[in-house]
Symmetry: none
Subunit: 414 residues, 2 copies
């Protein structure tokens, strides 16, 4: 029988420290999703026996399948086996096969088995042992009171191999699976996206959707449960409906990125781009050169952090700086046109502004940004104010400059 609701417990006091990221859960979520089992909770708990038992007690109370990682090693703070056995009222029994396997492993490496490793051969009565191809800690699978418990080692490589090869085949397939899709949107606030798509969501049916905001980007995450062999029709329907409403504001799907989209548009046209940037300090160029093969369409760029760099390298006219200032639509346009001319590119893109904390006076607070695009037949500029810290302002300015270039390449702006 396939479990209906799963829960993941990551065990280890070090995982509660600020410098550690727990990554095993992501692998387990994906694998469980692929056999149609939704993960509803993920908990991190330390090696404290009372906390450990509490975590399992809570998980078994609300989930059908509990997959735990860590705490199966030979040291005194590895207490997962004991906690689970005690919670379920099962005695720990020496497993001769497991003990022999661990001894053999040490012998092959020329060591005698340390006495501490003997504990790893203790198995709750009725448990199935999961072989560890890469380490000494065996895993365990228990079925008790209609629940399934899988205990895995915490070392990621050991955990992955054991779960995929030993545990997963015993969990069965639901005959169903999850299909995921991400829609990426630029130029709209999260609440605006939500508002525009309110009609679309009414038809969401069984498709689960979530909206997420990042600087200069809103993401819609769709997830659909489909029976084996079937297509994700709900996702296809919602994607088409959202695309119709959003038009060119919907710029990418799944792992695709703004810079990759811009790159493909340039490649399709056999065109190239050059960047002139100020407050973004190289971020626009760094993003455009991120995708493999970017050298086929990025010629280069200039980071002009001073007025002198703007005039002497990018060819911005001193009179423009004098009349409008370095943070102005006029300067943004001349930077884009200057980068295009300097590097002989089809397109130039630019950003200038105040990233903060310094600003340009009461009329131009931190977050004031001007972006520009100069193309084969026209130029365009946009301005906006970004609330947020220096990093957010820079990230958002770079994203918006790339998006303006994308819209210009698509011909969807005047």
């Amino acid at each position: 029988m396939t479990p209906g609701r799963a829960e993941i417990i990551a065990i280890g006091s070090e995982l509660l420290e600020p410098w550690r990221l727990e990554t095993n859960g992501a692998h387990l979520s994906r694998r469980l999703g692929e056999i149609g089992v939704p993960v509803r909770f993920r908990t991190i708990v330390g090696d404290e026996p009372a906390d450990l038992k509490d975590a399992f007690r809570v998980a078994l109370g609300r989930s059908d399948l509990v997959v735990a990682t860590g705490g199966l090693g030979p040291t005194v703070d590895d207490l997962t086996r004991e906690a689970v056995a005690e919670l379920l009222g099962l005695p720990l029994i020496d497993d001769a096969g497991v003990a022999a396997g661990i001894e053999e492993r040490f012998r092959r490496r020329g060591y005698a088995m340390p006495p501490s490793n003997r504990r790893q051969a203790q198995v709750p009565r009725g448990a199935t042992v999961l072989r560890n191809a890469l380490g000494t800690a065996p895993g365990l699978l228990l079925r008790e009171q209609g629940k399934t418990i899988v205990l895995l080692p915490g070392v990621p490589s050991e955990m992955r191999r054991m779960f995929d090869e030993e545990a997963l085949p015993q969990l069965g397939r639901a005959g169903e699976r999850y299909v995921y899709r991400i829609l990426k949107i630029a130029g709209l606030a999260e609440s605006e996206v939500d508002h525009r798509l309110s009609e679309v969501w009414r038809q969401a049916g069984e498709v689960v959707w979530t909206i997420l905001a990042a600087p200069g980007q809103v993401e819609i995450h769709l997830k659909e449960r489909v029976v084996a062999g079937a297509e994700p029709r709900g996702i296809a329907r919602l994607d088409a409906a959202a695309a119709a409403v959003l038009g060119p504001d919907l710029f990418a799907r799944d792992d695709d990125t703004m810079e990759a989209v811009v790159g493909r548009l340039l490649l399709e046209r056999g065109e190239s781009v050059a960047i002139g940037e100020s407050l973004t300090g190289g971020l626009i160029a760094a993003r455009l050169t991120g995708p493999p093969g970017a050298s086929r369409y990025v010629l280069g760029g200039v980071v002009s952090y001073t007025d002198a760099a703007k005039t002497q390298v990018l060819g911005v006219r001193p009179a423009t700086l004098e009349a409008h200032g370095a943070v102005s639509a006029e300067t943004a346009l001349e930077m884009a046109a200057g980068a295009r001319r300097l590097l002989g590119a089809s397109w130039g893109a630019s950003a200038t502004g105040y990233a903060g904390p310094e600003a340009g006076g009461p009329q131009a607070p931190p977050g004031t940004v001007f972006i520009g695009v100069a193309g084969p037949v026209s130029t365009m500029t946009r301005s906006f104010n970004v609330p947020g810290d220096r990093d957010v302002v820079r990230t958002r300015a770079a994203q918006s400059a790339l998006d303006l270039l994308r819209r210009a390449l698509l011909g969807v702006i005047a």
Copy 2:
């Protein structure tokens, strides 16, 4: 009263998906550790109302302080406020001050407040509102039945600022606290750092230490429990011992970064820098311009992604490209010298190489990198090969170029 046991809940169905890492918990663990409050559990839960309520019910049953992130936004799947109010039996009341703040925020950006944002002004009775300096979602602090609940937005920058400035001062301090220190090391592999410091670790005593590796950087994380008013003597002792062994390979501590260190060295000397970069595509300039006030020492840079950009903008000699190729020590040096000259800077720094997947033939596989520095009195260059994908190669190349510049500024290399 300072809470004795804390628990963190991260809310959002997307955080249960395989493609998302939950990072807010790390910041909260650290800040709570600094006021002596241990985090015992961290739970990730989706937007499902029943699951959300269950997570809070469980947490309030075993912890004195519950800090939750996410689910405070304006969309229909942001349900944290409602879940907590319902669980505690508190009515939600419109807060006129909060509503006015959100409306003002939209007005300043030239929008009318979408109706969906009105929900964000609903506050459980008796809750203290935590101001959001960077976004619309206000936070909440509740004290009920001897427990403290803090609700924060999920956007990391908003969450961090709100917790540090608005919530933390209301939580009080315990008689003990954890002190953390991070030592950052460049130019050495993780195993080399571990080996060199083996004698230092023998004196670690009660100080917990961990080594972590990132591209171009190794970090040592130290943690010590000290009573109120006392100094972290163990950390001070280990820091001094490690610094003596590592010398200039130890480049920064805690939140300090390579680019900030380089910036301070330039500022102290009243000097400036210009960048000429190829495979890093703007990453070096983007990092150098990251710290606030970078315009005092960064003049600008050139991303020369083609031979023409190298010769025509940076002044690399065609004969050099002809004889040695674009990926060579000679080209790296001329790029650094060219950037310095073009922008009139005290220093020039450069990177050229094959980021991959394309390479320069059997002698120059992907990951081949040359970096250069040109200063007031001398020039220097280094080369190395980075195993890893395109992102890793670019990140490591940028880090190494900044590190070479740092060592040149310190005068510790010939």
